[in-house]
Symmetry: C2
Subunit: 154 residues, 2 copies
């Protein structure tokens, strides 16, 4: 299997996916949007955590599993930001801070930082080189923390 082809084609499909998703998706109720974004974060965090376990040597490195986990993180990274629309600041135990809606440009920029790093993480995972994955994982984790510190209650 040609990794370069796979990487390229997968990215093309994902780019099409991202542009086809509406910026402000329709949810029947604000709680639905909150539950949706929380669910996306749970799935993303689970697979990012599995990568982290390999990066930290807690489980043996498995290049195929690393690639699969990074792929899922990549797909998930595109989904949550459509679900922070007006009126979704309260309910369903949301930990989103008011600053998400007070400074949406800063919030969206923090989200884009994460998405950009996740693209690099996915590319690193496709190389199968653990050192590259470690570096990209660390850079990505910083963007998670940066956004969570500013926009999520502890």
């Amino acid at each position: 299997m040609n990794l370069r082809l796979r990487s390229c084609a997968f990215s093309v499909a994902l780019a099409a996916l991202a542009t086809a998703l509406p910026a402000a998706a329709q949810f029947a109720k604000p709680e639905d949007a909150i539950e949706y974004r929380q669910s996306v974060m749970t799935v993303m965090g689970t697979h990012f955590g599995r990568l982290g376990a390999m990066v930290q040597g807690k489980v043996p490195f498995d290049a195929k599993a690393a690639q699969a986990n990074a792929n899922i993180v990549l797909v998930m990274s595109m989904l949550p930001f459509s679900a922070f629309g007006p009126g979704t600041d309260l309910g369903h135990d949301t930990k989103a801070k008011p600053d998400v809606w007070k400074d949406p440009a800063k919030f969206q920029a923090a989200g884009k930082d994460m998405q950009d790093q996740v693209v690099k993480l996915d590319a690193a995972a496709k190389t199968g080189n653990l050192d590259l994955i470690k570096a990209a994982f660390g850079d990505t984790a910083k963007t998670c923390k940066g956004c969570h510190d500013n926009f999520r209650e502890k």
Copy 2:
């Protein structure tokens, strides 16, 4: 953009993804597995529901959005079944019935029915033909209902 190439390459990437994911994934706690599979179902249901709204004429048909939603359903369809391991039958408000663990072969077969139909739904979405999407959506919805009727509390 060549739809055939995209479809083929995306499927290749997904096939690799599915085989790289462990059959029984590691979760720190049973509750984590339950929350994970519930989250996957929430994301899958949201995007399947958006396809349904188009199929039922509740929102205008948008071929690109249909394709993006089907892609996400396809990725999600591969994730939940690793999270029904031993000891995950109770907790976190799970609606999974005991039959999931009493008759795992039947449960896995029901899951595979869904996955197979979702592959067809994704292929139909890539054609941009609403009639084909409607048919595949209906067939897929039957597999959702079939599994939920047997294995999920109402």
